[in-house]
């Protein structure tokens, strides 16, 4: 889809990007990462020719971009930067409509498209189309930025620190949404970031750059388990084993959990424990409401009396979570097992600490 061949950019004496070759497949998320000044943003901006390479060629779908009119090229590539890129004198509607208007779409089609995009990024169209950027929160502005980049349905999306200007909590939510949206739209995305966790979370492949050179280009799993050089090893840090866990979904580690209904008689409950010391307690809707110690249960009248109540949001994790989140939650709670719930807090199973340890050990090398 996108192919960079021996691309070099020099500014006078300094070489910002040095003979970089990179191939990004259709529908892939490629994250460019590296210390500041490594040339990652320059590389991104050469793809849509905001910066012209000094040497080398860039192909999109087999066509040399140097032979295409720069403005036409950019109209066919989505571009999102930090939230400041929204035009403050335009409403949300007009901001999103910029590229469709430049492409001379019919008005009806633009109105429909803006509505679709706002829904895609999870904002209610009626509430937002008349707002100005100054009336948006950082997270909302960021999402509008993404909607704007997707406006004309370009096959390629270039994003420069798209989640850079928001607080960590919002960033995490936006990243989750990004993964969700990407599943739906399946674009070829080149994203620049300096946040390794973000790269690991979002990338199909990570391109690590150092002073204008590409030092390793691999999937996050490989980068974390087999860093190709000392630079990469230092860059990914000593906690790379932990970071790897954030690429692994809890889904594959769920085991059936021992659970009782809160209204079940004590005897039945003890029978179903089958050797387990602890039991999860659910209500009639299968929703997790706490846990019970079988030792306490034996001395109590009913399950209800013996159980420790717990907020499902705090004592469990979602099946869409990663092993890293699961581990973190276990350490926090002091649990050796953590219950896994679905979106409506129904108990699905549990994940054991031992299995996470095994998963960490697997990738060593």
């Amino acid at each position: 889809m996108i192919r960079l061949e021996q691309v070099t950019k020099r500014y006078g004496e300094t070489t910002a990007v040095n003979q970089l070759s990179l191939e990004i497949g259709k529908g892939e998320v490629c994250v460019l990462i590296g210390p500041s000044g490594c040339g990652k943003t320059t590389t991104l901006r050469m793809i849509n020719r905001l910066i012209e390479p000094t040497a080398g060629r860039i192909f999109i779908d087999g066509r040399d971009t140097a032979t295409v009119d720069a403005e036409k090229l950019r109209l066919s590539i989505g571009y999102a930067i930090q939230s400041v890129g929204l035009f403050p004198h335009m409403t949300v509607f007009n901001n999103i409509a910029v590229v469709p208007q430049l492409l001379l779409w019919e008005n009806n089609r633009i109105v429909r498209r803006v509505g679709e995009l706002l829904e895609l990024v999870g904002l209610e169209p009626a509430d937002y189309i008349r707002k100005y950027p100054s009336q948006l929160s950082g997270g909302e502005a960021q999402r509008i930025g993404v909607a704007r980049a997707l406006a004309a349905d370009p096959p390629i999306l270039l994003m420069d620190e798209p989640f850079g200007a928001v607080d960590p909590l919002t960033r995490e939510r936006l990243q989750a949404q990004f993964i969700h949206i990407q599943k739906e739209v399946n674009k070829t995305i080149v994203l620049v970031t300096h946040d390794l966790d973000e790269a690991i979370r979002l990338a199909d492949r990570i391109a690590i750059m150092e002073s204008g050179r590409l030092v390793q280009y691999d999937s996050p799993e490989i980068i974390l388990s087999r860093p190709g050089s000392k630079f990469v090893r230092d860059f990914v840090g000593a906690d790379r084993a932990l970071k790897r866990l954030s690429r692994i979904s809890v889904k594959d580690f769920i085991k059936p959990a021992a659970a009782v209904n809160v209204n079940q008689p004590k005897k039945e409950a003890l029978a179903s424990a089958a050797g387990h010391r602890w039991l999860w307690v659910v209500d009639d809707d299968e929703q997790l409401i706490g846990w019970v110690d079988t030792k306490t249960l034996m001395q109590s009248v009913s399950t209800k009396e013996a159980m420790d109540e717990g907020d499902a949001v705090k004592i469990s994790i979602l099946e869409s979570a990663t092993l890293r989140e699961a581990l973190s939650r276990m350490l926090e709670l002091g649990f050796k097992h953590i219950p896994v719930v679905d979106d409506s807090q129904r108990l699905i199973g549990e994940v054991a600490l031992g299995d996470i340890e095994a998963a960490t050990a697997e990738g060593k090398g």
């Binding site: 901006r45 849509n48 905001l50 403005e71 036409k72 090229l73 950019r74 109209l75 066919s76 590539i77 571009y79 930067i81 930090q82 400041v84 890129g85 929204l86 035009f87 403050p88 004198h89 910029v98 590229v99 430049l102 100005y132 100054s134 009336q135 704007r148 270039l158």
Partner: protein
């Protein structure tokens, strides 16, 4: 409930009507000035009625400011483009010079070339009013955040599209403020046109200075001051209607 904007235009309209009624009423002026200066034999400048003088004055200012705007804004835009950036220092120097050069001196130099009357006055006013317009155009365009231009070009806008869709709307307020300053300066400076027979509210003032008649001077100065206030309000209203503000609408 009329909006703030409509209310402002309404107030301006009322003030304008009041102004016209006031200057059209020669009798009122005569009574007032006679009361203030009982010693003078004539208190109203005999050359033309106040209405005519004000109209002449407005014409002087409108023509010169019109030329200033038509030439000044594109000039400011041009030297802010990559193609004209080399001329930026020269243009700012010349416009600064235009304002430091006394308009009276421009008149003196222009009369041999352009003759007496309207033309040399307009030339002097044009030069004098150019600086605020050009300066503010340059400053306004310069203040547009580079991130926004990056976004504009990155999304596929041409230079012209980015200029009209992003740069000019965002700098409109600053540019229009420059226009307003220029027009107000010109209303004051246009007085000197009377020296070489261009008419306007300068006529009674010059006559008053020559004959040591304070009533004539007031007759010229007071309407000019009112005219400046009205023009200021008019242009402020235009700024508020056209330009984007950071305040939520």
């Amino acid at each position: 409930m009329p909006s703030k904007k409509t209310r402002r235009w309404f107030i301006l309209g009322v003030a304008l009507v009041a102004f016209v009624v006031l200057i059209a009423n020669t009798g009122l002026w005569e009574t007032g000035l006679r009361f203030l200066f009982p010693g003078e034999t004539t208190v109203i400048h005999p050359r033309a009625s106040l209405l005519v003088l004000v109209w002449e004055h407005i014409q002087l200012v409108a023509i010169s400011s019109g030329i200033t705007i038509i030439l000044g804004i594109p000039l400011g835009i041009w030297v802010s483009r990559p193609s004209g950036r080399d001329f930026l220092p020269i243009v700012t120097d010349i416009t600064s010079f235009g304002q430091t050069f006394p308009p009276v001196a421009v008149l003196a130099l222009a009369v041999p070339v352009l003759g007496f009357g309207l033309m040399p006055t307009i030339a002097a006013l044009f030069l004098y009013g150019l600086l605020p317009v050009v300066r503010n155009t340059i400053a306004g365009l310069h203040a547009v955040p580079s991130d926004l231009l990056d976004a504009a070009y990155g999304m596929g806008m041409s230079r012209l599209q980015a200029l009209f869709r992003v740069e000019l709307p965002l700098s409109a307020r600053v540019i229009l403020a420059g226009v307003r300053v220029s027009v107000i300066i010109n209303i004051g400076t246009a007085m000197i046109g009377a020296v070489i027979g261009a008419g306007g509210l300068g006529s009674p003032i010059i006559a008053g200075l020559v004959r040591d008649n304070l009533a004539f001077i007031i007759e010229g100065a007071l309407p000019a001051a009112l005219l400046a206030i009205l023009a200021d309000q008019f242009l402020t209203n235009i700024e508020n209607s056209l330009a984007y503000t950071n305040e939520p609408v």
